[in-house]
Every structure is written in C-alpha cells, then in structure tokens.
Amino acid sequence: MKVYKISREGLDKWIKHWTESYDVFGPVEKNENGMTDWAEVKGLDEISTAPGTTKQPIKTFYLPQPETLFTFTSRGGEPDSDVLKETLDEGRPRVLFGVRPCDARSVTLNGLAYEEDPYYMANVERTLLVGVSCREQCGTCFCRWVGGSPFGTEGLDILLIETEQNFVAEALTDRGVSLVEAGGGAREASGEDLAMVESMRQEAEQAMSAMPDTAETLRSKDLMSMYNADFWGGLSESCINCGACTFLCPTCYCFDIQDEVVRKKGRRIRYWDSCMFPLFTQHASGHNPRGQKVQRVRNRFMHKLKYFPDRFGPVSCVGCGRCIRECPVNIDIREVLRDLLGVE
C-alpha cells in the first residue's frame, strides 16, 4: 500500500485525467428527495458529498439489469444461424469514484459466489473502485455489525480520507497505484498524515457500535432452530412481499435467464430475480416449494445470514442499510439479525 496526499483541486484533475482512458462514474444528486445515484461525471464538482449511500448499489455495474449473455438468429441460410454467440466484452474500463466502503465490500462478497462466472469477473476486471471513507454514519448504517468499517478498504483500489484541508489517498492495489500515477500531482503522505488518518479511523470505528464475530456466531448456531424460530410469522405478516429490499441490496445477486426473440433474432439475457417473488421457485410442474410468503421472507434472511456464511464464511450483508431505508413497511434486518443471534 502506498499513501498519498492530494488537494481537492488535485482530485478534480485526477478525474479529468482519468476520463481520457476510463468512463468515470460518481454519486450525483439526481432525485428530488435529496438522494444520490450513480451517473457518469467529468469533474469533482458534479459529485455529491452527502453522507450515506446512493439510492442504488454498485451491483448495477457488475450485474447489469439486464445483461446480454448471448445473441442468436434463427434465419435459415445465414451462416451463423442457430448459433449462440457469446457477447462477453471487456468494454472500456471504468472508475467508480466515491464508493462507500460497504458497497466496495459487496463486490468481494458477491465474488465468492461468482468467481467462476466470466461475465461477472470481466466486470470486476474492468471496474476500478475509488472509495471515500464515512465521516458520518446514518441511522440505517450498521457495517460494523457485519464485519465492515466506515474506513474499510476491502474491494477498493483507492480509499480517500478527507482531512481538514486535503485528502489522504491510500492506494491499496497495483491498479490503485497506477490510477494515482495517471492522475498525477499527488505527494507522498507524511508520517503525520498517516497518524492523523489512523486516529480518524479509530474514532470513526469507535463511534459505531460493533458486533464482533457475527458471522462466526451465526455459523455456530443450529440451522434448523433458526429455520423453525417463532419470529418469522410475525415478520412476514408485515411484509408486502415486494422486491424493493432485494433489488436495492448490494449483495442480493440472484438472477434468472430468458431468451428474448423478435422476428427470429434474439438475445439470451440474465436479469435480476428476487426470492420475494413466488415465481422465483415455481417448478415447471406447478408446485412451489416456497409458495407461502413466510417461506420467502425467511429465505431472504436465512440466505444472507446463515446459508451464505455456512458456505462461504462471511455474512452476505454489508450493513449499508438500504433495505431498512427503502422498505415500505419498515422491516429492519438489524432486528432479524438480533433475533437470529438470540436463537438457542
């Protein structure tokens, strides 16, 4: 890791330099209700400095909605008729600027399930993440409960930390170092800067209540006791069974695949699916193993907080709080997490 110091003007120049070789995206104030969302940017002044996360997670860059996997035609006589053509395309590399540490972590966590997926991995390959640490935690933030930190670096190429006058830039990967070099104008951080950043990091982490070993505790619990716990019924009674939580979740990555064909020309697409929807588990026979809402609600939380940790280790949640913020009926994953941790 190399640590640099860069002024606000210097950061603006970085972005301007990067746009020569990368598409640069940042959180931009888009919505009337003060929320930010991802959009292409040309300079620092376009980027929102509001605390908290964007409306949509960065999974839109890794799991586009929809993503074309193959194209085909079925026009007899044409040379490549009835042949699936792979559309895997590395595309122009891009920089996501201003990623929160929680969102950056989601790329690594989803990567555990997608490591053999060429489409996902191509998007990982072509996307560089420049994060910005969180000085303020929102009422819905809980990254410290699930193994993250407001100064977390997992998944990032560069972490920016805003200090009194400047920014400290931690270049965490080789790609991050080359981004800093391509940007130009950065000085190496002094020992004083490093000490300041370290004390900021400690202060920010101490300001948030931590829950150590969440994943380990959940892994050690009995799966069937969790599955049969009493609280699922009450929880699902409030739920309207929409997909807002799953679609806005950075670590909900489930999909379905379909062929879309118009006049014998088609594409095979991968699009977001949600375990909240009955069709998600509908069998061809008509039978649905998760035909009831309570089963679907339970599955969303069990997948994140039990099945995923059992299989991969960490919890499949980064504590960004979007599901809490956007749920029309205020279902709060923090309460479910507490309930599950309390299961004997």
């Binding site: 003060g34 409030s238 029309p328 009926v329």
Partner: protein, 360 residues
C-alpha cells in the same frame, strides 16, 4: 398539549384491547412504531399486550385493507383443500380505517374478498398522511434523526439542526386532494367525523398532464417510469391487486418482458393502472411504497377522473352501488359498441357483421 394523533392512539389501544380480551375479535390490524423516524410497521395484534403497542400518527401510509384478507384467513381454523367449511361463524378481525381504506373495504366486500360481518372497523377521519419523501427533500440530504409530530407541524431534528416544517406542506398529494376523509363504513368511530372536504380541484395534477400534446404526455409518462426497478412494491401495497397470479408473473405464456426495458416497464404500469379503474380510492399506498419516487398514482387518478366523468361513480362510496365496470344493465348507453342496429357511428358493413354475431 396532547396532539390529536396521540389521543387517537390512546383510543385505538383501549378499543383494540377491549375487542381482543372480550374475544369479539381474534386479531386486530393496526400499526406499531417503526425503527426509523417517519415510519410505522403494519402489525397484527393478538393480545391486549400487543394492543398496547399500537400507534397512530401521520406516517400510517400503508393501506390496511391490503392485509385484511390474509389476516382473516389466518384466524380461521386450518383446513385442507377438500375439507368442508367450518360450522358456525368464523372469528372476526378488527381493523383501522380512514376514508379511503374503508372505501377499499367496501370494494373488497363487493368483490367477495371479505365479509362485512367478519370485520370490526374502527373508523378514523384522516387528517392526511405525511409524505416522508417530501420531508427528506426539504432536508436536502441532511438526515432526520428525530421527527416529533404536532397537530400542524413536524419538528425535525438531526446532527446540528432543528427545523419546524408546516405539516400540510408535506402531506401526500393524494391526501391534499382528498374530498372524503371520513370512513364510509365503520363499527366504532374514533374521534369526530370531519365531513367532506371542499377541494377546489382534486384533479388539478391530472389536468396539467392532460393539457400536454400527446407526444409530450408520452414523454412525461416515459420519464416518470424511467427509474422503475420492477420491484412491484406499488402492486403489492395495493388492496386491489390480488390476482392469484399477476400478469407480470405469468410464465405460460409470458405476457411481458422481465427486465427494465422501457417497453416492458410501460406495459406493467399501464396495465396495473387500468386494472384499478373504477376500483381505486386514491389511497396513495402505491406511491408511498415506491422506493424510487415514481408518481404512479397519477395514472390511476386519471382513470378515477374518467370513471367519475363517464359513469358518475366513485369507488367504494356505497356498498349498495355496484362497481361501475363490473356491472351492466340492458339499457346502458353504448354508443361505443357496434351493434346490429343503425347507429350514427357504425358503417353498414360493420352493422351487418356484428348483427350476425349477436343473433347467433
């Protein structure tokens, strides 16, 4: 001074507790406080201890009629698909209802979704619910950590700020244009009835869009739904949407594409709105549920206006008046239907063809 919401809360708790402990109802459908400012959670109380948690405030934006059939089902004795109906009256459910929610319950009775004698309705005259998104917009990215409700203002506080927001300015658009705040059916009234509201023009928002040229209207529609993520929160928050399989979930055949292609999103929103024509009470739950801030109730509001103009009907105002689009009488005016008889709009050819059909 005690706010009107907290007085209503006290009365709801007392009535719900009485109904539950006397066994008059097996469950009571209301709200409990949410974990964030300006949120509540729909909740089914089953004991008087549960009833003590119920709350009423300006943020009760979900329509409880939407939950009612499921809660009614949950209190019935379990039975298998072939089992006979249990003998004797089935357990009842208590529920809160404002003007629009009670009208939705009327629609549910008319559509055989619920039975009137199985619900005990606590009627509340609505003062209009607050749009959380409007409050957030006024804060411009600053986070509200505490919101205290007074009768005519909200006291919002966060890190290093306190702000008093006049309540009516952040009330939801549907509530601002509401003319029927009082429940149309109820068993126990909580608080006073307010009477119909005078509203200069409840369709002003719709008329603004109607005044646009067709291509501008289409552009407006496309822009409005462009951020849709197809989460179906609008559909699922709606008491009118109860098809066993929604047309967007049909897979054999599949009627509409699954991703966020603009044409697929448009089909979903247009069909959803039309399916609500003559049934929608403009409760605003769809808009309140939408995480993306889409104003889809304007689509249904347009249909509400059309139905009022063409049929003189408003959904759910009277249990004895059938829904305008699910009834007919032989002497209905039907200039728009081609019949065998001479009609100024039909050509001879068409009249001949349809005449044959109607005789066959």
């Amino acid at each position: 001074m005690e706010s009107s919401s907290s007085k209503i809360t006290d009365e709801i708790r007392a009535e719900a507790s009485r109904l539950l402990s006397s066994g008059e109802v097996a469950a009571f459908l209301g709200f409990v406080p949410g974990s964030l400012p300006m949120t509540v959670r729909p909740f089914v109380a089953r004991s008087s201890e549960d009833a003590a948690r119920l709350v009423w405030n300006s943020f009760c934006v979900m329509n409880l009629a939407n939950y009612l059939p499921e809660v009614l089902k949950s209190v019935e004795p379990p039975r298998g698909p072939g089992d006979p109906e249990p003998e004797g009256p089935l357990p009842r459910v208590g529920v809160l209802a404002t003007g629009c929610w009670s009208r939705n319950m009327v629609v549910q009775i008319q559509e055989n979704r619920i039975q009137r004698d199985r619900v005990v309705i606590l009627g509340i005259s609505s003062r209009g619910m607050v749009d959380r998104k409007k409050v957030l917009a006024r804060l411009g990215g600053r986070e509200a950590l505490k919101v205290e409700e007074q009768d005519h203002s909200l006291l919002v506080s966060g890190r290093a700020f306190n702000e008093e927001i006049p309540r009516w300015e952040v009330v939801r658009d549907n509530c601002r244009s509401c003319v029927h705040p009082d429940p149309v059916i109820w068993d126990i009234m909580i608080g006073e009835r307010a009477g119909d509201r005078q509203n200069a023009n409840r369709f002003a928002q719709v008329e603004e869009i109607e005044s646009l040229a067709p291509e501008e209207r289409w552009a407006w529609f496309q822009e409005e739904i462009s951020s849709c993520i197809r989460c179906y929160a609008c559909r699922n928050a709606c008491p009118l949407c109860y098809c066993p399989t929604c047309f967007v979930d049909d897979s054999r055949p599949q009627w509409v594409g699954k991703s966020i292609e603009p044409v697929d999103t448009a089909i979903f929103h247009i069909l959803r709105a039309y399916h609500c024509a003559g049934r929608c009470t403009d409760c605003g739950a769809c808009e309140s549920a939408c995480p993306m801030g889409i104003r889809m109730r304007l689509f249904t509001k347009k249909l509400e206006k059309d139905v009022l103009e063409m049929y003189g009907a408003e959904a759910g105002m009277d249990p004895e008046t059938p829904l305008p689009l699910s009834t007919f009488s032989p002497d209905d005016p039907q200039d728009f239907i081609v019949t065998g008889q001479e009609s100024p709009k039909s050509t001879g050819d068409e009249a001949g063809r349809s005449g044959e059909v109607s005789q066959s």
